[in-house]
């Protein structure tokens, strides 16, 4: 991982010095432990700020929308798939990008780590698969694989799909993981239980829209929830309005979501936001054999017509 970090710095320095890009989008250390923040580096002397570790879960493709300058961007597997989606949807031009691909080994879920200990965590350092958690006056260690973000634990596209250079050897992709275990569990419930399940899931939601803001797919200039003329959805805290927001947003991500987990990571109250989109991901895979952002050469199933598109639901 630290090897990655040096390679990223080297690449950023080279690109900025030779002037082939105007800025580099990457991560720098945040003010809290386990909270790296996205940063835009424009001068070679700022390159030292760049970091890479297991807390780079934010999806950087989110910062590319409609950018005009030449950009170098640090991209994990999921970021690269969202960059592909951006290019397909004409939100950025391929020529404008220099993609620094990072073969990913999964990001940690800071909530899982925090919930394991009652004390305040002062610092987290990592060495390969070992995490050292520092508290006031003591230190504990953890295995990274035990505290991975849920979507990283079941990820099968860790390597970037589109890149101009790589910062390390490609990693072996996971096989035999059940990506849809949660979806299957909900599918097995009765209608009433399903309703109740999402009612409970959404009960802490305060409608801060952090999930939407963190999502690289949500780039509409005016989101349907912010529109008031016409007003598409109620703006109150009523459970029906909250539910409508989440499910409508999920529909907008159908066939586009790469399951990067940015929404879930951004949620301040820890709602499993991926529960909405993963059902759609499963459907797009089963009905159209589609996984978002894997190639530039194919249009997404929802913007093309094929005579054999599944249409059993039309009576």
């Amino acid at each position: 991982m630290s090897g990655y970090q040096n390679k990223i710095k080297e690449a950023a320095n080279r690109l900025l010095t030779e002037g082939s890009v105007d800025m580099v989008i990457g991560f720098r250390k945040g003010t809290l432990p386990m909270m790296n923040e996205p940063c835009f580096i424009r001068r070679p002397e700022d390159v030292h700020q760049l970091v890479w570790d297991s807390n780079c879960g934010i999806n950087l493709a989110n910062y590319l929308t409609d950018r005009k300058e030449k950009i170098a961007i640090v991209a994990k597997g999921c970021d690269s798939r969202n960059i592909v989606t951006h290019i397909i949807e004409n939100k950025i031009k391929r020529e404008k990008l220099h993609i620094i691909g990072v073969p990913c080994q999964g990001m940690v879920d800071k909530r899982k780590i925090i919930s394991l200990f009652g004390e305040e965590i002062l610092d987290v350092t990592e060495n390969g698969d070992d995490l050292k958690i520092k508290f006031r006056g003591c230190e504990k260690s953890l295995k990274k694989n035990d505290v991975l973000q849920e979507n990283c634990a079941t990820c099968i596209h860790r390597n970037p799909v589109l890149f101009d250079e790589l910062v390390g050897e490609l990693v072996t992709e996971q096989t035999g993981v059940d990506r849809y275990a949660d979806v299957n569990r909900v599918e097995a419930l009765s209608s009433q239980e399903k309703w109740q399940y999402f009612e409970d899931l959404l009960s802490p939601c305060v409608r801060c829209y952090a999930c939407r803001n963190a999502c690289p797919l949500c780039y509409c200039p005016t989101c349907f929830v912010d529109e008031s003329r016409p007003q598409w959805v109620g703006k109150s805290q009523d459970p029906v309005d909250i539910r409508t927001f989440h499910f409508l947003r999920a529909y907008h991500c159908a066939g586009r979501c790469t399951d990067c987990g940015a929404c879930e990571r951004a949620c301040p109250v820890g709602i499993k936001v991926r529960q909405f989109t993963s059902k759609l991901n499963k459907d797009s895979f089963e009905m159209f054999g589609w996984e978002a952002g894997m190639t530039l050469d194919q249009r997404p199933p929802l913007d093309t017509y094929k005579p054999n598109d599944p249409n059993d639901f039309i009576k």
Partner: protein, 55 residues
Amino acid sequence: MNLMEHMGIEPGRLQFSWISSAESTKFVDVVKTVTASVKALGPNTNYKKQAVKVA
């Protein structure tokens, strides 16, 4: 539609149909089956908003 049923809308409450303007008999049949199946499910109270709480 799959997601609607996934979140707890009962199967049969949401239906899709493709009817040409020339297919009057199909239209009648569809309306009959839809109303019958929705009547059998009863009113959808899930989507009823609670009264606004006034402090």
